[in-house]
């Protein structure tokens, strides 16, 4: 069958040249050319190397920007590093959750807008299984974390069995509903504050409860009892010594250790999900996303495959929730509002759904450029500007002042209300993305779903 060889060309660039308008399109082509060139340069085989380069590039860019902002705030070395550690932690947490959501939405096309619910179930299961006093069963943390993932998976299965028969939009409503049901159940009197024979058995998560965290265990690698004041362990002593050369204090070093754990979790999830992406299973997932009926017509048991992928994604969401939220030591039910899911979705869309590398890039870009970056701006302005302009009370007054060519009130207002404006900013970015770059930064679902190179097998270029 290799009669007319040769022209199995590289010219597969056809389908994505449709819209070349708008301010973002230049950036789009730049990013795409960059990633294309990396992929080309690396060759088809080393997909993960190309992924790593793209992710590292994004990371360097965001680190540079945040370092600049932190420096602008007048932070010292320790402050800057601490900011970066905190940033890395958040980026990894988002990376993990976005990867899981990408399995649902990017691959299988399952519109899950109940991510927070699956996180929440895992976190509170962890609190129940491994918690110390009160209702906690006191098992080791790894038992609790496995139980948390199992609980999230079980809830996923419960939701999937009836709901996966529904059309995509109804499925979305079911997942959102489940997330809210979980939240209100945890908050309800019966679960929150329940007495049996005068003994308190309520979870107490309506307000907030202590959740055992893997963070304690990481911290105990550094010092005897996990607090920064205690005697350091051998490993801790070396690292604290190293840190002190750069003027980095103990808590920052310890936080970096925990952030590293999350980064490792992201890497493991990436390996797992890449294997799925580059496999016949991932191919069927894509086929289901594209046209479930057609996939059935080819003899693919789509229901079963959808359930597997949904349950696996839910378990990963549980893991992400536990590693992220449980590190706060106390968690309340309201830490899992729908906005959590919304942010994770935005991050996925920023990065490009359907791409695992894109998911991680999305997590990085969202946390750095949309979530943390803007919040740092006011302090930079406060630091750099001698006299910060007086803000007005309402945005209306600030905007009407613009009529008198006076921009200061608006700047003042923006600085005072950065948290509000940041949400507005996320919304605006989302709309711009939808308009000009619906495929995300790494878009167009480029990862070819196969476990081997698909080009015409002629010279037996072995893999």
């Amino acid at each position: 069958m290799t009669d007319e060889s040769g022209d199995v060309g590289e010219d597969g660039a056809g389908p994505r040249e449709q819209d070349s308008r708008g301010p973002l399109s230049d950036m789009r082509t730049t990013v795409r050319e960059y990633t294309d060139r990396i992929t080309e340069w690396m060759g088809e085989r080393s997909r993960w190397k190309a992924d790593a380069l793209v992710v590292l590039s994004a990371l360097v860019l965001v680190y540079a920007l945040i370092t600049l902002l932190a420096y602008g705030q007048g932070l010292d070395m320790n402050g800057i590093v601490n900011t970066l550690v905190r940033l890395t932690f958040l980026m990894a947490a988002y990376g993990l959750l976005v990867l899981a959501l990408n399995l649902h939405w990017g691959y299988a096309g399952l519109f899950n807008i109940g991510v927070a619910g699956f996180m929440s179930v895992a976190v509170f299961t962890l609190a129940f299984v491994s918690g110390g006093q009160g209702v906690g069963l006191g098992y080791p943390i790894w038992v609790g974390m496995i139980a948390g993932m199992v609980a999230a998976a079980a809830l996923g299965l419960l939701a999937a069995l009836p709901a996966l028969r529904l059309r995509a939009d109804y499925f979305a409503i079911v997942t959102l509903g489940i997330a809210e049901i979980v939240r209100f159940t945890v908050k309800s009197d019966w679960v929150d504050d329940h007495r049996v024979l005068g003994r308190e058995v309520g979870l107490g998560a309506g307000s907030s409860i202590q959740v055992p965290s893997a963070q304690e265990y990481v911290f105990k690698l550094f010092t005897e009892d996990g607090t920064s004041r205690a005697d350091p362990t051998f490993v801790g002593a070396q690292l604290f010594e190293l840190g002190s050369w750069f003027g980095i204090d103990r808590p920052t070093v310890m936080s970096a250790g925990y952030a590293l754990l999350l980064v490792v979790a992201v890497l493991l999830a990436y390996v797992l999900l890449s294997r799925i992406a580059y496999s016949p299973f991932g191919r069927v997932l894509k086929a289901i996303r594209e046209d479930e009926g057609a996939a059935q017509a080819l003899g693919k048991p789509t229901s079963r495959i959808k359930i597997y992928s949904f349950v696996l994604g839910c378990a990963l969401m549980g893991l992400g929730g536990m590693l992220w939220q449980a590190s706060r030591f106390t968690v309340a039910a309201d830490a899992f509002m729908p906005i959590v899911t919304f942010y994770i979705f935005v991050a996925l869309i920023v990065g490009g759904s359907g791409s695992n590398a894109g998911s991680i890039v999305g997590g990085i870009a969202f946390v750095g450029l949309l979530l943390q970056g803007p919040r740092m701006l006011p302090r930079v302005i406060n630091e750099q500007w001698e006299s910060v302009p007086e803000g007005t009370n309402t945005i209306y007054e600030a905007v009407t002042a613009l009529g008198g060519a006076d921009i200061m009130p608006l700047i003042g207002y923006s600085i005072a209300n950065i948290d509000l404006l940041q949400r507005l900013f996320v919304g605006v970015v989302l709309i711009l993305l939808m308009l000009y770059r619906p495929d995300g930064l790494l878009g167009h679902r480029k990862e070819v779903a196969a476990a081997t190179d698909l080009s015409r097998p002629e010279g037996e270029t072995d893999d």
Binding site: G12, E290, Q296, L298, K300, A449, A451, T452, L454, D463
Partner: protein, 288 residues
């Protein structure tokens, strides 16, 4: 009803005229009278409308059978009922002697009864290669565990390499190899028909149900497609195709089933159907 001999006209059409020409011998290559697909009394109502009203016919092993009828005759619904995409209210479908009534679409496809769609349903955001790689049956890597675990993944990759060979052969066969790396959404209508046919073919079916495979295909391509179908038939595949083009049906089918208002109006060899007055009447819009 399944007792009717291969050369006969079923009881659905009692027209004496068609009976007259029924002494023609079966065309060469058209099976030994074994029915691979037996459809018996299929019924389907949508709300108050009876879309399919007791349809019964057989498809002979190794034949190209045409299913024709005016718009709204129930041809596509019959396809949906046979392939499990719509659940029948009554009636049965036997394939290869096995009752497949009420099975799920993927089970019917796995049994070897594979369909294409009137409006092509390719996977638009996947490349042509990915589209075709999806089709082959019994892929080890479709098990989640086997795809992911280190020990078993080697076997998956091995099978993938074999499949790549098969897929490229198929690409060459259907002459769409130059489109291999394109996204399916960027193909023309005719190319999509080819892609869908190639994809269905890769599922290793026994019987292919093609819903208007030639609609929107240019004459040159149509010629090629028909050649391909004849080649495949010679290799033992069976075809049931819905088509509006009467000339095409008359020229290429061994046997024709005519549907009208949800029921089989006539069934027989093309010559018989051509002269069947009831068929002519139905096509001219008259009511029987």
């Amino acid at each position: 009803m399944t007792e009717s001999p291969a050369d006969g006209v079923t009881d659905a059409s009692t027209d004496p005229e068609s009976g007259a020409s029924s002494s023609d011998p079966s065309p060469a290559g058209w099976g030994d009278g074994d029915a691979v697909l037996e459809i018996d009394g299929l019924q389907k109502q949508f709300g108050g409308i009876t879309a399919v009203d007791g349809v019964s016919f057989d498809v002979e092993q190794g034949s190209i059978t045409g299913l024709i009828g005016p718009n709204g005759a129930g041809k596509s619904t019959t396809f949906d009922l046979v392939t499990g995409f719509t659940r029948a209210d009554a009636g049965s479908v036997r394939f290869d002697g096995r009752d497949v009534t009420g099975l799920r679409p993927h089970q019917i496809a796995q049994a070897g009864l594979v369909r294409t769609f009137q409006i092509t349903r390719e996977f638009p955001d996947m490349t042509v290669l990915e589209n075709l790689m999806t089709a082959p049956p019994d892929q080890r890597g479709e098990s989640l565990a086997r795809s992911v675990l280190p020990g078993t993944r080697r076997g998956v990759i091995e099978q993938e390499r074999e499949l790549v060979d098969t897929v490229w052969e198929t690409l060459d066969l259907f002459e769409i190899d130059h489109l291999a790396e394109e996204y399916a959404r960027s193909l023309s209508g005719g190319q999509r028909k080819l892609l869908e046919l190639a994809r269905a073919f890769l599922t290793e079916p026994e019987l292919l149900l093609l819903d208007e495979p030639m609609a929107g295909v240019n004459p040159t391509l149509e010629e090629k497609l028909l050649d391909r179908i004849h080649d495949l038939r010679a290799e033992g595949y069976t075809f049931l195709l819905v088509e509006h083009d009467m000339d095409l049906i008359m020229e290429h089918c061994d046997r024709v089933v005519v549907m009208h208002q949800g029921a089989v109006l006539a069934e027989g060899e093309p010559e018989e159907i051509r002269d069947n007055e009831r068929v002519i009447e139905a096509y001219l819009g008259g009511n029987v």
